[in-house]
């Protein structure tokens, strides 16, 4: 999908108008940002906004995440275990220390 984020009042207004006119291309709207269908027409809308508003329009490409395919098992397990922790105030780094759960810095250094 295409994530379009606007950074000015004029760009936000154009985005709103474009979304109203082309509702079928809109996956989800978030105020001054929107997720568009990954169609060439979605790209056309995004590029048209950028042509009008330059740097006030950010366009990124997103794709769905399948955690069972894209994310190492120990990371998934760590997330579940941490969500299930006994003390809600324990930060993750402390929670992971001395266990098999991955260290936050190690995870940050590792690309998906």
């Amino acid at each position: 999908m295409l994530l379009v984020v606007t950074y000015s009042r004029a760009a936000r207004r154009s985005l709103r108008n474009a979304c109203r006119t082309h509702e079928d291309c809109v996956v989800r709207r978030f105020g001054r940002a929107v997720l568009l269908e990954a169609s060439v027409f979605g790209a056309f809308l995004a590029l048209r906004l950028r042509a009008d508003h330059g740097g006030d329009v950010q366009v990124e490409r997103t794709r769905p995440l399948n955690e069972f395919e894209d994310i190492p098992e120990e990371v998934r397990e760590a997330a579940t275990a941490y969500a299930d922790r006994d003390h809600p105030s324990t930060p993750y780094a402390k929670f992971a220390a001395g266990t098999d759960h991955p260290d936050p810095d190690a995870m940050k250094a590792r690309e998906l």
């Binding site: 950074y7 000015s8 009042r9 001054r32 330059g54 740097g55 006030d56």
Partner: protein
């Protein structure tokens, strides 16, 4: 006030220009100080004049905006004025770095195509070297090996370019530029909200005077003064405003221009 058009000169506080060869839009433009074929000498218009300075049946009036401008013409202020000035000052101080990534992305895409082409060439040359080693002359092998070395070198150069291009797409720099834009947008929204509140407060101050003017205005009187027809609304706003510059009237509400000038307490040109 003095009006000159096509050699005809009229003076006074209430001018009847119906027999003068000029249209209302031209007179209104001349009153605003724009270049026109005619000459109008008048005091400089205030901002409210833009809203109700040219009264005609086909006009559109945003009553609340016009009424807020009328309040300003009378020297009224809103409690939000200081905050508006402060936020505007903050806005002026924001420096927004340019985001001109178009060329960078194009270079990046071009480098990518070039990488693919060179990768294919390297693979092809590797294959040829292998075949020639089995069945070719020493000379042919040496030649193919030289070509392979050169293709590998080209590939690594393009790969370096690609890294450089990707570094120029530097996320941190973009993030800073976008943070600044986000701050600017927040402040612009803040100004817009404050201005809306200021307008509401100015409108509240003149609401009574405006309703009375609508009731007193010649022509139809609506139940809700904010639903008045555009001519009535514009005249009523004009009556509560301190207009200073002449109002151009293209409507039949007053018997004579002098009556309009006295009702509006402003100079008038009837067209």
């Amino acid at each position: 006030m003095m009006l000159e058009a096509g050699g005809i000169v009229r003076t006074g506080r209430a001018i009847d220009a119906r027999n003068v060869p000029v249209d209302g839009a031209t007179v209104a433009a001349a009153v605003r100080g724009e270049q026109t074929p005619i000459t109008v000498e008048n005091p400089a218009p205030r901002p409210v004049h833009e809203r109700v300075g040219y009264v005609r049946p086909e006009m559109g009036v945003s009553v609340r905006t016009a009424l807020a401008a009328a309040a300003r013409s009378r020297g009224l202020s809103a409690p939000q004025d200081d905050d508006i000035a402060a936020v505007r000052e903050q806005l002026a101080d924001i420096e927004v770095p340019e985001i001109a990534t178009n060329t960078v992305r194009r270079e990046f895409a071009a480098a990518d195509t070039e990488t693919e082409r060179l990768e294919e060439r390297v693979a092809e040359l590797r294959g040829r070297v292998q075949v020639l080693r089995e069945q070719g002359t020493d000379e042919a092998v040496a030649e193919a090996e030289a070509a392979l070395t050169s293709a590998v070198r080209d590939l690594s150069e393009v790969a370096t370019d690609r890294t450089a291009a990707s570094q120029r797409l530097d996320r941190d720099r973009l993030r800073d530029a976008r943070d600044a834009r986000e701050r600017r947008l927040r402040l612009e929204d803040e100004v817009a909200n404050l201005e809306r509140a200021a307008r509401a407060s100015l409108v509240a101050e003149l609401r009574g005077a405006y309703a009375a003017a609508v009731a007193d205005a010649p022509g139809p009187s609506p139940a809700d003064p904010f639903e008045a027809d555009p001519v009535t609304a514009a005249l009523a706003v004009g009556r509560v405003a301190d207009l200073r510059a002449p109002v151009v009237l293209a409507c039949d509400r007053f018997r004579v221009p002098a009556a309009a000038a006295s009702w509006l307490d402003a100079p008038v040109v009837r067209v």
